[in-house]
Subunit: 279 residues, 2 copies
């Protein structure tokens, strides 16, 4: 959800614009054009120099896969962020591997992940998601000078996910990282409690962390002693992760008719003022 | 310099073996076959399944480029090391990008770096070295599960090198990382003092570090205040680096005739006992 997306969606509704507004949102940003639709979305790169055919298309609505859950692991970060637009422009200029990825690897991979989503094949979806996240960050490293987004904590999360998946020989959780160090984990509702137990064991909250887990409520049991011993990963200092958001797929922007759900008062003032976070 | 290399070299000398001993050392390890020769060496991958044609060949002896210096920045590391042999076997199995790198990128790159070395073209040599180190680690990240060798400190060293090179618009120092987090920097003798000043400013030694800089002696002035301010990189905690080795290209293993240079007494006992380091 981005500011350009909200602006385009709101103006389109206000003026009664019909049809595809994704190409208008694309003028604002890539994430804006993806966010005007809900569920799983494919962003077509297009070939028109004006960018007008660089639009998003819904693959399935959120209701297609109601069991899917998302955990956002927000990481403490010392590094200065590189703008994802600048980083990608530099990759296009300097990474020889990027050309090969775009022409030879991505077309097949996009078809496969659409198939996995349509069939709700979690293991296939998870493996493709992780491989593609790794390859995206490999491209960033092959850029000159290299663009670095993941840090040691991000890689520790990757390591934990592979340990959890190999533990029972079943891919039950997947990671993906965009142009930043925070992890986005995909998993099924039935695995949320067990995976969060393991995350809380390895990355315990800081003692003063009043709201470590945000979003959808979930019961977390302490990690079973035997599982903890077999995990082969020592717990980190409390507070190594800032906080965790537990959420699910959304249906995209909506016109809210119920006044109680509005974020603004009828006078246009915000109803809630929450403390600002760094991330 | 590796144990298999020393064993092969010593036995070859003892039994008067003539000719190429690199292919014998290759049976021990890749670094062994490279280390039986001095200066710059090319390791041919070969195509014989027995590995007998996987040998090293000297490009130039160390005396070809006497101005070249090497700084090894030894990094504190929490992560468990992945064996480079296991990691590479996994990359060959799972990384689609590796196939493209081997078939389409490396042949031209090897020719270019040999040319740069023969012509003592430092800027060309440095840029190719950095790009190839980045691409090697990109391959490791494209491996499934990813093989991680560099850590946050390694990437901070990369960042510092690019800052130093962009500062005066001249590539005066290059980094390369093998299957570990320690940096190997190449630079010319005339730049050693200034580069070490910047390294000491950003990565100050721990207060109790008695021998932070080892190897060839060099005078280091504190970093000029103006340069420090323009560097756009805050100093790290003292002791973030373990220590630094300042060295140069070697001529490979030698038969030492001078008894004073022997490491062992005539009875075969070690002359020096130095404290053991973790790295």
């Amino acid at each position: 959800m981005t500011t350009p997306m909200f602006t385009v969606y709101t103006l389109a509704k206000l003026y009664g614009v019909k049809g595809d507004i994704s190409s208008i949102a694309r003028q604002g940003s890539g994430s804006a054009c993806r966010s005007v639709l809900g569920g799983f979305v494919r962003w077509h790169k297009g070939c028109d120099p004006t960018g007008l055919d660089s639009v998003a298309q819904q693959i399935v609505p959120a209701s297609h896969w109601p069991q899917l859950r998302i955990l956002i692991l927000v990481v403490n970060d010392r590094q200065k962020k590189i703008s994802s637009t600048l980083g990608m422009q530099q990759s296009v200029k300097t990474s020889e591997l990027l050309k090969y990825r775009v022409s030879h690897i991505l077309p097949h991979r996009v078809d496969s992940i659409i198939k996995a989503i349509k069939e709700r094949n979690f293991e296939m979806f998870a493996e493709l998601t992780m491989k593609d996240s790794n390859q995206f960050h490999a491209m960033c490293l092959d850029t000159y000078p290299p663009a670095l987004y993941m840090n040691d904590m991000s890689h520790s999360i990757v390591h934990l996910v592979h340990l959890l998946n190999s533990e029972k020989g079943r891919t039950k959780v997947a990671y993906t990282f965009d142009a930043g160090s925070n992890a986005c984990l995909y998993l099924l509702e039935s695995d949320v409690s067990a995976v969060l137990s393991a995350i809380n064991h390895v990355f315990p909250p800081a003692n003063d962390s009043v709201e470590y887990l945000r979003g959808l409520p979930v019961n977390i049991d302490p990690l079973d002693k035997k599982v903890a011993e077999s995990l082969a990963m020592k717990p980190y200092e409390p507070g190594s992760l800032k906080f965790i958001i537990h959420t699910q797929l959304g249906e995209g922007p909506q016109v809210v008719q119920d006044l109680d759900q509005h974020l603004l008062t009828p006078a246009g003032d915000p109803k809630f003022l929450t403390p600002r976070h760094d991330n």
